[in-house]
């Protein structure tokens, strides 16, 4: 499991979603890194990637909604970071269309995504948790 307890931000709705996101990322990477011919594996890799991508969108939206709800002052900056990452994923999607579903390209996407996600959850998202805590309410509800 690539999820670590220190990624927890103290808002249970977001923590649950992060865990689900990490599960999907892990499932995608495990399939991507499995041995065997690419032709035989690529359908499974593709479907786990789509399953993961879907959740990235769902999760980003929910996380931004939560930030709005608590009037998080870093919302605009956080939205900008999410949008920038979605754009990079879309650039990969476009390359898949142009150059085909090449293993090398999928490996690059996965490596980048893993590093990006760990850093984002371990640093940027933590600020949401700190702010929620500073409001004094029980940030762990909901």
């Amino acid at each position: 499991m690539i999820w670590k307890e220190k990624y927890r931000i103290g808002v249970s709705m977001i923590d649950k979603q992060h865990q689900e996101l990490f599960r999907r990322v892990e499932d995608f990477i495990v399939n991507l890194r499995s041995s065997g011919k690419w032709e035989d594996r690529q359908e499974k890799v593709k479907s786990t990637m789509e399953f993961m991508k879907e959740y990235v969108v769902v999760h980003f939206r929910a996380e931004e909604e939560y930030q709005k709800k608590i009037n998080y002052p870093g919302l605009a900056e956080h939205q900008r970071i999410h949008a920038g990452f979605k754009e990079e994923i879309n650039n990969f999607a476009q390359k898949f269309e142009e150059e085909g579903y090449q293993e090398d390209l999928v490996q690059s996407l996965a490596g980048k995504l893993l590093a990006w996600l760990i850093n984002h959850v371990a640093s940027e998202d933590q600020k949401i948790g700190s702010y929620a805590k500073s409001l004094g309410g029980d940030s762990n509800e909901g």
Binding site: I118, N119, A122
Partner: protein, 149 residues
């Protein structure tokens, strides 16, 4: 080239390695470049101009990706180089924030993975920042100067 450009990178690297990898780095005086390594370069523009080049020795590179993924990696494939390019990007981004606190406003370009060490390194004044781990020494070459106004 001023030594004060180095500290923002030192602090950013220590912090990112701790946060993402639970790994400590120790600043050392010198280190030899590894035979097999991942080299990532970014350019800097704004108040400062130049390049930052990260040299990750192979063993360190593989361990870093292993720590993040919980999986074994045996060669420097595109997954590994792409993950390291992103880490270099994150470190550099944080270093730019540190520089901003010292009143330097700079931007970085997207990271490029190089297949061999960049040439002409000796013609540009460069500060080397070797940072040791138990899996080898990361070398960061910082070649920055103030942008002429």
């Amino acid at each position: 080239m001023k030594a004060e450009y180095v500290n923002p990178f030192y602090q950013a690297t220590i912090q990112v390695f701790k946060l993402m990898l639970d790994l400590d780095l120790k600043r050392v005086l010198e280190a030899d470049g590894a035979d097999s390594q991942v080299i990532v370069q970014l350019s800097v523009s704004g108040d400062l101009t130049g390049t930052i080049t990260y040299h990750f020795p192979e063993e360190m590179a593989l361990k870093m990706v292993q720590i993040m993924s919980g999986m074994e990696f045996n060669e420097l494939d595109s997954f590994v180089t792409s993950a390291l390019a992103e880490i270099a990007n994150i470190i550099s981004g944080n270093a730019m924030s540190n520089l901003f606190e010292r009143n330097y406003r700079c931007d970085i370009s997207p990271p490029q993975v190089l297949t061999s060490p960049p040439e002409g390194l000796n013609t540009v004044p460069t500060l080397r920042l070797p940072l040791e781990t138990k899996w080898g020494t990361l070398i960061i070459n910082i070649a920055l100067r103030e942008t002429p106004s």
